[in-house]
């Protein structure tokens, strides 16, 4: 320890001219502040700004220059024997020199910054957005990191050893390994883990260099090539161990299973088929978000890009899931199909916008403003494209595999257009002259649709292709949900919050049955199995619940409280082909649960 301080003092004394230069740079901001034309509006701002620039530049320059010379130059010029001919241990020599180098960086920065900081007062705080302490910490950390890096490069380069090629290869391997390690975490939106891991790797590298420096002098002493060899062995050996540990940690983080998901769990579920996408974070795995495609029939899962939950589409026949996967600045479109263990890469990429799939998933329409294109998945080619009109809201679905219908809401109303593969053009087929957002729901054949006006609370039956009104189903009764059932019947809920009623109508809008539901603050249809309609609502007494309503008998058969509901096709523009068998919800313990609306049976999907 004593020898290290003696050596540090000697090194410091040798470099005292650097400190004199720092004093000169400390005076410079004050001189600039009194020169007309340079000092700007506020001399204090000039002092603060120029001191920060000078201090940072000076600290970085001193770091790089002294890092490249404090050991490397002594070795290459044969002057390390000055220390090794005396009773000084290699650790004392290294840590003495290191201490002097770091103190020189910190001291010079302080010499330039402190007078300006004291003089500038509030002007300094305005200039430096974060706190002064953190700004200084970041700048000095950067300078010290450069100091250590310069030492490594200098030791390697000055040895003129062929080992340099190995070092280059090792550095490239380290860089590539880190990138490969971080990619799955970035894909899992684990920003906190990524930043902590990066910080840990930087600290580990810094420690490896600090300890490696002592090791190189212990093993290499005055021989520059042996110094190189020793530092190289220590540095890359340590980094290999650190990267293995980091890789094992990353592997553990990303190895999360669906049942591990306990935090921020979310899901979407196919309206009819067995598929669901579930995402969430797991205990001890930070903010890493895993996503799985679950086949609820057989319980099998597949890993998905966590981002897929925001772009997943379930086909109407319930057999397939179309999901995006991030790749660089675009997304690849994959199709997962029931009974197939691997997804099909459609070859289709999307940079922005949305897409919809045909009922069987064999065609995909990409709505990327200003264009719409229809792709054939099997042929992997575009069948037709057209320019989209401007729109506030844009909704679309495949009427047939050849025709995509679009509902384009503009200022004055909603235009109805169709893009036909055979006609190769976008054709306007109708218009609904009602400003604002319209809630739309088409019948299974896409011939008719329910139009609910948000502002008036009214509900009409319209021609789905032309938009022409056919029949008014409700006026001024506060319709809060409306939907076609799979068999073509219509259901809607209206009435005051204190006494809502579920109306069941035939396909032509003829009233069949009214079922009182009681006090509801909000409600939404999930789907039906032919005999029952499943509604999610906020009950005045029970809170948020799922209710299974037998529309033939007019009774609520099952009721299940939920913390959050899972969409399960609630926003689909047309009813699914298959019957609804199961719905998902998030319970009070943040577990995703499956609920059978016919029997009321529950099972745990995640967290159990």
């Amino acid at each position: 320890m004593k020898n290290a301080l003696v050596i540090a003092a000697r090194e410091f004394e040798e470099k005292r001219f650097v400190a004199y230069a720092a004093v000169a740079f400390a005076v410079l901001p004050f001189l600039l502040a009194v020169i007309p034309g340079i000092n700007g509006r506020s001399p204090l701002d000039t002092i603060a700004m120029s001191a920060l620039i000078f201090g940072t530049t000076f600290a970085v320059a001193v770091a790089v220059i002294s890092g490249a010379s404090f050991v490397g130059r002594d070795l290459s010029e044969g002057r390390m024997s000055f220390y090794f001919s005396r009773p000084a241990g290699p650790f004392s020599i290294w840590f003495g020199k290191l201490t002097a180098g770091i103190l020189m960086i910190v001291g010079c920065f302080g010499l330039i910054i402190v007078p300006a900081r004291l003089a500038a007062g509030q002007h300094w705080e305005r200039l430096v957005s974060s706190s002064t302490t953190w700004s200084v910490f970041y700048i000095l950390s950067l300078a010290i990191a450069l100091f250590l890096l310069a030492h490594v490069i200098s030791t390697f380069a000055r040895s003129r050893s062929p080992l340099l090629a190995f070092d280059f290869a090792a550095a490239v391997i380290c860089g590539v390994s880190i990138r490969l390690m971080l990619l799955p975490l970035i894909a899992g939106d684990a920003a906190v883990i990524v930043s902590k891991l990066e910080l840990a790797l930087v600290i580990a590298a810094a420690l490896a260099i600090v300890c490696g420096g002592a090791w190189q002098l212990e093993r290499g002493r005055t021989d520059r090539r042996r110094n190189h060899l020793a530092l190289s062995q220590f540095l890359w050996g340590t980094m290999a161990v650190v990267l293995l540990i980091a890789a094992a940690y990353v592997a553990w983080v990303v190895s999360v299973k669906p049942s591990d998901l306990t935090g921020h769990v979310r899901a979407t579920r196919s309206a009819a088929g067995p598929f669901a996408v579930i995402t969430g974070t797991a205990k001890g795995r930070g903010d890493y978000r895993a996503a799985f495609l679950l086949n609820s029939e057989d319980g099998t899962t597949m890993r998905l890009d966590p981002w897929a939950e925001f772009g997943v589409h379930y086909t109407r026949d319930g057999r397939s899931v179309v999901a995006p996967r991030r790749a660089a600045n675009f997304a690849e479109i994959l199709i997962y199909t029931r009974g197939k263990s691997e997804p099909l890469d459609t070859g289709l990429t999307v940079t922005s916008g949305d897409f919809v799939a045909s009922d069987d998933g064999n065609r995909i329409a990409v709505l990327s403003r200003p264009n719409i294109s229809i792709y054939d998945v099997a042929q992997k080619r575009s069948l037709t494209s057209a320019r989209l009109p401007d729109a506030k809201y844009l909704r679309a679905f495949f009427v047939t595999p050849d025709v995509v219908r679009l509902y384009v809401t503009q200022q004055e109303g909603t235009k109805i257009l169709e893009l036909d593969v055979r006609a190769r053009g976008l054709r306007e087929t109708g218009f609904i002259a009602s400003p604002g957002y319209l809630a739309l729901n088409a019948d299974p054949s896409a011939a008719h649709m329910l139009v609910r006006q948000a502002h008036s609370g009214g509900l009409t039956l319209n021609d789905a292709r032309t938009g022409a009104p056919i029949k008014t189903l409700a006026t001024g009764t506060n319709v809060i949900a409306a939907r076609y059932l799979r068999d073509g019947r219509i259901v809607f809920i209206d009435g005051p919050d204190s006494a809502t009623v579920l109306h069941v109508l035939s396909a032509d809008g003829t009233q069949q049955r009214d079922i009182p539901l009681g006090a509801k603050k909000w409600a939404m249809f999930i789907g039906d199995d032919g005999a029952r309609v499943v509604v999610t609502d906020v009950d005045a007494k029970a809170g948020r619940v799922f209710e299974s309503i037998n529309i033939d008998r007019g009774v609520i058969e099952q009721r299940q409280p939920t913390r959050e509901w899972v969409t399960s096709g609630a926003f689909d523009l047309r009813p699914p082909i298959e019957a609804l068998r199961e719905v998902f919800y998030v319970d009070a313990n943040s577990h995703i649960m499956a609920w059978n609306p016919a029997t009321g049976a529950k099972r745990t999907i995640t967290g159990g």
């Binding site: 004593k2 020898n3 003696v6 000697r10 004394e13 040798e14 044969g78 002057r79 390390m80 024997s81 000055f82 090794f84 001919s85 005396r86 009773p87 000084a88 241990g89 093993r219 002493r221 005055t222 021989d223 090539r225 042996r226």
Partner: protein, 296 residues
């Protein structure tokens, strides 16, 4: 306490494929003056670096006062004064600063002796080390090395750059004085004439090998130059072994490496070689003869 100050056994040093020292072995007793000679690139400096624990050999051991030079370098350096081949002090430091720095590292330090020696050498304390001549730098290094009253003084080519007066002063006053006081001295040099008067033992390196390691007196007593007035018919090599044989004037000159008076008389009486003149040789002449003989 070991009587051996330096023990080197089976020492080998390599730089890649190049062999600097190969299977070197030598012993230096306490209080002895050992001169290691050899041509440039013979491996002397590599051997010295191993001796000082600055370089780890690929093979072999170096012990100083019975302790491993590599492992115990730090504590051994408290007892060893070193003058390296190249001036290694930082050029920006003043001579006084170097002395202050060194004084803090050693357990014992005689600042007065440093100042006295530097005065004697004519080197001011305020001088920047980098501004000194090569000889003055050596003198500064020597002053520092002697400030601890070392038990062992290692001098790696100390006369390099010294003028004739300084060289004579170094050998006669400094080293001679230290040798008289019982300090062990290990010196590598080209200046054989300088060490001849006080070296107890001499070693010679060639191509990384120690080809000679012998007491100076014994070495000098067995080497003789014999000048024959006429060309000898033949020399019985079983009696006297000529290292070098060449024409000289009308006769011949032989340098023999196993001379003794009895053998010489036997040779003379057995062979009809007529008049012969026997001369003692200096270390330098012996070195040239050995080096030349080995090269031929």
């Amino acid at each position: 306490m070991s009587d051996t100050a330096i023990r080197i056994s089976d020492l080998s040093v390599r730089y890649g494929r190049m062999i600097a020292v190969e299977h070197a072995a030598l012993n230096v007793s306490r209080g002895a003056v050992y001169a290691l000679v050899g041509r440039n690139g013979a491996g002397k400096s590599s051997l010295v670096r191993c001796l000082l624990g600055q370089q780890k050999p690929q093979r072999g051991d170096v012990a100083l006062f019975g302790e491993d030079a590599w492992k115990r370098r730090k504590s051994l350096m408290q007892r060893i004064g070193v003058v390296t081949e190249d001036a290694d002090a930082p050029p920006e430091m003043s001579v006084g600063a170097i002395a202050r720095f060194c004084s803090r590292l050693y357990d014992k330090w005689d600042q007065d002796s440093v100042e006295a020696r530097l005065r004697a050498f004519g080197v001011p304390l305020t001088s920047r080390f980098g501004s000194l001549s090569k000889g003055q730098k050596k003198q500064v290094s020597l002053a520092m090395a002697l400030a601890i009253s070392p038990e062992l003084l290692v001098l790696d080519d100390p006369t390099l750059g010294l003028d004739v007066v300084a060289r004579k002063s170094l050998f006669e006053e400094v080293i001679g004085d230290l040798a008289d006081r019982g300090t062990t001295i290990f010196i590598t040099t080209h200046d054989l004439a300088g060490v001849e008067t006080f070296a107890d033992r001499v070693g010679m390196m060639e191509h990384g090998r120690i080809v000679l390691d012998e007491d100076v007196d014994a070495l000098k007593s067995r080497f003789r130059r014999i000048r024959f007035a006429a060309q000898p018919v033949a020399i019985d090599t079983a009696v006297l072994r000529p290292t070098v044989m060449r024409s000289w004037g009308g006769g011949a000159e032989a340098i023999v490496s196993n001379y003794d008076d009895v053998s010489f008389e036997r040779l003379r009486s057995a062979s009809n070689i007529g008049a012969a003149e026997v001369e003692a040789m200096s270390l330098e002449e012996i070195f040239i003869a050995i080096a030349g003989g080995n090269n031929s």
